[in-house]
Amino acid sequence: MASNHLTGIGSESKQLATWYFTFAAILFGAQLLFGLVAAIQYVMPGFLFEIVDFSVARMLHINALVVWMVFAMFGSVYWLLPDETGIETVGIKVGKLLYWIFVAAIVVVVLVYLLIQVGPADEMSIWFIHEGREYIEAPRWADWGITVVALGFVANLFLTGMKGNRSGIVTVLMADMIAFAGLYLTGMFFTDNISVDQYWWWWVIHLWVEATWEVFVGALAAYGLIQMIGAHRKVVEMWLWIEVAMLFGSGILGLGHHYFWIGTPEYWWEIGALFSALEPLPLVAMFIHVMYDWGKEQGKQNADSLAAGEDDISVIKNSPAFIWFWMNAFGNFLGAGVWGFFHTLPQVNLYTHGTQFTSAHGHLAFFGAYATILIGMMYLAIQGTNGIKVMKNTKASIWSVSLLVGGMLGMTVALTIAGYVQVLISRAQMGATWAGYFDGQSGMWFVQAMDWRLISGMVMFVGFSLLIKDFLTTGKNPVHQR
């Protein structure tokens, strides 16, 4: 097991992982592209009006986001399974078939979003165009397709975990992924009652991104630390279990912070406030964990070098991946933790709910908590498939991480300022009406914030282009030790 993680060659599971990562990267690009369209429309409302309207661009923006992350998550599992279990993934042929079904379904869904856009107010539109429910717009036929693919994926994971060496990381992933797949079912029905609709809709969205996805990230971080810096498995897995306890302990009932204003009873104020206020704690723990393990392993290495009278060498086996994992630990804390906590108490949320404040948090949290670590996993896969022993930073890798992170921070600050303008003018001053809304939107600081957001988005797009360049040129780059 010690050496086989360095190579994806010969493992079908790892080959499938690279397919998943490749399509994920393409969708990541699509996400940024449609994000740019939407950002331009804030600045120039006539841009693509009644051609690709904001609603269409934004639907593609957030759906590409969710789907590329799900693809990269599946890819991550297929990548790490052989390393963790010591065997080839069970049922990999079915897994590969499901991959192509998944890709085909996504392509069809995207084309329908783009070319048909809206349908008449009937069930057929819900089944074949889109469901019009933020983040899980996929039409009902695709819901069932996704369910089948997800169950196939979970079956691969379970059968492999039960046959091979079931490490702590694999155990956590097995429990987590069954919840992840099961929760999707709670978003697959129609009701006339919008309060009931949004109640269950949040079960999917929240219990994904603030519970099961976070635990998934914990498991990936554990795997990554073992792979990249040789962290001690027992220590890493103990941290992982503590994180699972803290993440689920706070995140499951933290769901209550979405139930303040949708028609649900007042007791959710207290429950949502208390548990969601605890949600940042595991994120602090995860950051400390990464820093602590890095310091510990490097310290040991330095002591060994000193004793042997040699120069210090880095314990990091994959520098770009490690930077992204580190960005994840910090970004998760900052975006999900700090920016989430800002507006999680009902007394604050009464005014911030449904403003750009949420958007600021959403952007930094999705990027900080998920995009970062999944890009890190892509780097691990690139290291493996190219047979690289020690992977170094390149100019492109440094520039891409700087521009992507810098762009995202700029965007977050801009959206936060825009959110403040909305809270103060549209909400507090003008009482949340139509006219109040537009008073806020035309405020000077709001308008400037939207300009900066667009510029930040362009910076991110350049960063993304460099990331892809780095991915594609790694194989021939002589800087890496093979």
Partner: protein, 230 residues
Amino acid sequence: MAKKSVWSDNRFWQRSAAWITGFASVLLIWLTFDTAGQISMGTDADLQNGVTKRVPGPTVINYKITYEMSSTRGHEVPVVGGNDGSGKSLFQEKEKFFGRDDWSEEEAGALLHLGKLGSQTKNCMNCHTLLGNGAYYAPDLTKSWLDPAWGPEGSMQAMTGKDTKEEAMAEFLQHPSTYPTHARMMPDLGITAEEAKGLVAFLKHMSSIDTNGFPRNFGRMENAGVRNGK
């Protein structure tokens, strides 16, 4: 040799994680049962018998709906059919909706069904927020039925050439880019006359949902005539 501490024992933490997750899940499921009961949609009988529901039945479209301060709850609540003075609904004062205030449970239910379907198939949520959730490119629709812009003093009835709030809204929904209010316009989504009626019923119904005082001070400044310092 030092005694092994439970605090560094993986089994201990694994079990803790399982127990904590199980406990949180059971609590969530229990609360879900309670909430599901409280947010189930009311009936026409509830409205006639003066039963306040968090989500009233579809025939609430036959009543006048306002959003007023409740002295017991300390925030605004939807008031259906008149206010008893403390923010409690009287369920008496009717209001014509497209010329009628006697929509039956079936008729009103069918309109609401069409409207809710329309709200999804026209993708409202990817520009607007509903109950505060969605996108931030266009105004929140939670209490849009009560927005002064659509009322007799507002500009939208004159702009669309209609005499009532519901007709003005329906006209706007069918031809939104004909009535631009800002540089940022609503696109034409192919909404038919019947769909528009359903959507307006959906919006009126949504304004009657008890959202625990969100949004706060809705239209307050404008109602008080303070807007633009007038």
